[in-house]
Structure formats: C-alpha cells, structure tokens
Amino acid sequence: MKTIDEINQKIKNGDAVVVTASEMTEIVAENGPEEAAREVDVVTTGTFGAMCSSGAFLNFGHSDPPIKMARTYINGVELYSGLAAVDAYIGAAQPNKDPEIGLDYGGAHVIEDLIKGEEVELVAEAYGTDCYPLKHVETLITLDKLNQAIMVNPRNCYQNYAVAVNSTDETLYTYMGTLLPNYGNVTYSSAGELSPLINDPHFQTIGFGTRVFLCGTEGYIVGEGTQHSTEVERKHGVPTTSAGTLMLKGDMKKMNPEFLRAATMPNYGPTLYVGVGIPIPILDEDIAASTGISDEEITCKIVDYGVPRRERPVVKETNYKELKSGKIEIEGVEVPTSPLSSLKKARIIAEELKKLIEKSEFLLTSPIYRLPSRGYTLRPLEIRKPSILVRELESKPVIVTRPDENIKDVARKLVENNINHIPVVDEKGVLQGIVTSWDIADAVAKGKTSLRDVMTRRVIIAREDEPVEVVARRIDKYDISGLPIVDSNNKVKGIITAEDISRLVGKKMGRGGESI
C-alpha cells in the first residue's frame, strides 16, 4: 500500500501522520486497521528498561610512550581489554573491583558518568612489548577526549518477558528487583503496548539497519540480539514470553543522560536503563493491525523466581492491562505489582520520537534484511559434567536426636561422633529442629536442660533432588556450616556440611558478577 520512500517524502514535506503506539491502539479500535493504515504513516514505540547486556567500545588514543593495555579500569570498574592496544569494552553489569563498592558502582555507572561529561579515572596495566614499552598508565579522561565511544548493546528490547513472583518464605533479590516472600509482590519489566518489538511481532519492518532512537540520539539496529528466539507460544500474534531481541549501536558522544541511567538491582548487580524508541512505518493494513495491539491483548506469564532453576514454574497467565492496574490476584489474594521499566519514560520517548519525525528531523530507513522471524530456538547450556544431586552425595549415617533427649546425652553424642550439628526428629524421623554444639555449650552455660528450649526450629534444609550448587549458594547466603538433607516427606536422610560442599564445588561461590 505505502512504501518507506513515500513515507519519508511525507516526513520531509512535514505532512506525515505520526502517532504513538498507545494512540494507535485507540485509532485501530475505533476505525479498524484498514482505515488506520490509510490515515497513519508512522507509529512510534518506546521503552526505558534495565538492560544488563549493554556496553560500549572505547578508544583511548595512544600515550607517549605507547602502551598495549592488557587490563583496564575506569573508576575501579574493569573493562574487557582483549582487543588492540587502546581499545576496550565496558560492560554495564560489571561490578566494581573494590569489594567495598561492589555492586553500587559498576560499568553502567561509568557509562552514565561519561555521558554526563564527568571526569573519570583510567588505570591501565600492560606487560610491555618492543613497540608498546609502557607498563602502567594512570590518568583522568572525559568522553570528549576519547577518539570513539560506541555503544554496542548485544541484547536489548526483549519482546515481552516473564513476570516475577516469589513463593518461598524468604525475600529474594533478583534482576527482577526485590521479591517479597509468599507471593508478596509481582514485578514486570515490559512496557506492554508501547514496547517496540511487540508492535511488529513478526518483524515485517524491523531489521538490520533500522534507524532508532537510542538514549537521546539516533542509533541503529545491527541485527538480532543474543538469545533471539522466534519459536515460542503466541497469542494475538505476540509472544507470551521473552522472544525476539535486538543488537543496537549508537554514538555515546551524542547521547543525552536523560534517556539513560545507571542502576543497581539490590544484591544482584549494576545494570543500565536504556531508552529506546523504534518507529514503525505503517506500510499496510497488517502492520496497522499489529501496532493496534492493546495491553489487554498482550499475554505474559507470572513465573516463580523462588525456584532457582532454568525452567521456573508458571504460576498463572496475565496481561499488561491487569499488571498496570497496580494489583493482581494470585490464589485468591490481591498482590501489588511494580513495573521495573519506567512507563513514564517509555511514553516520553515515544512522544519525543514522534516530535522528531514531525519536525522532519528523523527519517525512516529500509532494513537491509529483516530480523529473522522463524527458526530460532534457545539452546540451553548443557553442563557436560552433570550437576550432582544432593541424593548422590555420600553422606555418613546420620546421627539424630529427639526433642525430649537430655542435653548432656546430646553433648556426648556430638563429642563421640565428632560432629557439630545434630538434627532433632520425631518418632517417624521427621525433622523438628536442629542443634549445634554451640547451642549446647550455650545451654549448659545458662543451665538449660531441655533440648526443646535450645533447638532451632526454622531449619534451613537441603532437599534430595536439588543440585549441590543450589545448596552451596544457600549455605553461603545464610552463612551456616551445615544443613540436614530431607526427602519429600521431610524425613532426615543425612547431613551436608560446608566442607563437603567446598570439596565438591571446588570454591566458595561468591556473590555478584553473575548476569542473566
């Protein structure tokens, strides 16, 4: 019906009809897609969300004498320097090397500071070569002194995403924000009907070379992003889970700090809020219909982040109208919701892009090729050395005690068997509590005699069918030295200690540095 060239001509003449994706939803609902396609030339979308897979290539220029930078740090954040002498890549999710600062100032913060025009400290180390003799550099730099600062984000703008909830009785800190225990809150990250890839679900107009709005300036799509997938469940043509992704590129020197922001997901890590707007040319009725999608028609799944596995159980299906209402019902209880992406900024971006096009300052591009819309599935990382399950651990015959046992006898059991923990069980062997040698010493000192008064009733456990790594993380998180292994009936099967784990897993698993 229309071509991109025709639309560009209209934009140049200043008479293109441009609307935001939200406005388009109303137009299509009122007049139908056929009429909407005739009336509207461009639909603008927008999103402002946390996108960990973002970063930038920086070129520092050559010093005199020159250096081949092997390790590079800006404000204490390490860059990837396995490139030519003075090139490096700063990744948004990289934590600070100073453990005191850790997650509070990472790669994303460096990127934001540079764009704000702040002076940052560059430290580089090298091994020294005949052509690059210098081994150490320490200096201050600003964005305008760099030769290039090219943002290249390997995965942005997820087409839809899971909605998070937590079924466990502990607060969880995740890349989906803070999740309160017992289904206490729900977090979601997609902008719904404003989100770029939801408005062109089969990539009829979006592809390699599409010009976009990126952090306040023009950017380009340089192909599909990592983890791009297409073979997913769809409703109204739109994926019900994460599917398509974009790789984006833009010039950091032209970016506006208003459309980009560093953040730290508490106890998870640094991330970058990236503002992206994509114009969708309304070439025909089909595309008009796609951009007419409403929050209510975009289905997504509430997933239990309480299960730290690749396949997390789906709690229920919902849609963005319900999520944006601020509350949602789960198992008969009303639960408050939080968007994690800024819906306010998403709207501002869609409006901003609309204005730029109306003022003839932003022309559309025909993609060199369209993003693949078929044949992409996600491959999991198979761990060839399979995870060891707790069940497979060789655990010694477990020594247990009963709640009515005398403290002195329990103390003897601990000493005789050279152990530090003793699970307390009922007559059927079901776990009731746990006692450590420290508890016993404390009890003796205070003159307590009943085990019931001494034992810890809220026991942190390991289940037989859990991978050892999951248990290792639990030991680390609660800073405990051992926990009982129980079967599905809560019967005690053994005990696993931090030492057993570290022997198996090799090293203690630290926090941070992990990015999903």
Binding site: G177, T178, A262, P336, S338, P339, L340, L343, K345
Partner: protein, 128 residues
C-alpha cells in the same frame, strides 16, 4: 503528628505510654522502634483531640519528643519512575500518577525503609 520519642534506659520499664493513652483521648501508633540497653527511640504517630496535652504529659515523664515533618524524601532528579518501590510498600504510601510519575505520600509513610533499600537508583532518603 509524627514524632521520634527518645528515652533513657531507666524509663524503658515504666508504662508511660499506656498511662498517656488511658488519661487522654488520643490515638497512638508505633511506626518503628529501636530499643537497646542504652535507651531507645520510637517513631510514633499521635492524633486526637487531646494530642497536645498527651505530648506534654509524655515530656514531663522524661521522654524527649521530637516532632518530624518528613519521614521520607524522594530525589526527583535521580528517580526514574521505574516503580520498583511501589509494590514493596507495606502501607501503600507509594502511588503512580496518571502519567506514571511515582509519588510517595509522606503522610502515609511509616518509614520502614524498604523502598529506600530496594530503589535501583538510590533515590529515596529516610529521615532518622
């Protein structure tokens, strides 16, 4: 009104607050409390017709009353209106406007600090 009550250890055992509630027509809400062997402080909300009289009484019993105007403050420039804080507030003090601007209602806030701890841009400051 909202106020911090500060008291010395010698007072902890005394039933000053329950006495004040008995004597005066007031509603008394404890929003937060930190009590240590060296004394303590409580964030409270006192309201009702005899608010002033009750405060005078509490002060006379040796408790320091520091009225507060604000419990929490959000830095408008740092906040990106992501809304991460909204669902964490136990008293629904955080709301969104029509244009998705996130606002904290200081009158409802009980200063639990949960939002401040979880804000990705550290935009929320709690007044102690």
């Amino acid at each position: 009104m909202k106020a911090w009550l500060r008291f010395l250890p010698s007072i902890i055992g005394k039933a000053i607050i329950s006495e004040a509630i008995k004597r005066y027509d007031i509603e008394f809400n404890i929003l937060r409390a930190h009590i240590t062997p060296r004394g303590g402080k409580m964030l409270v909300e006192i309201s009702g017709p005899e608010e002033k009289e009750s405060i005078k009484f509490i002060e006379e019993q040796g408790i320091e009353v520091n009225p507060i105007i604000r419990v929490v403050k959000k830095d408008k420039d740092k906040c990106i209106d992501c809304g991460a804080c909204i669902s964490l507030c136990p008293v629904k003090a955080i709301k969104v406007e029509e244009d998705w601007t996130v606002e904290i209602d200081d009158q409802i806030c009980i200063g639990c600090g949960f939002c401040a701890k979880s804000c990705p841009t550290k935009s929320i400051i709690l007044f102690e």
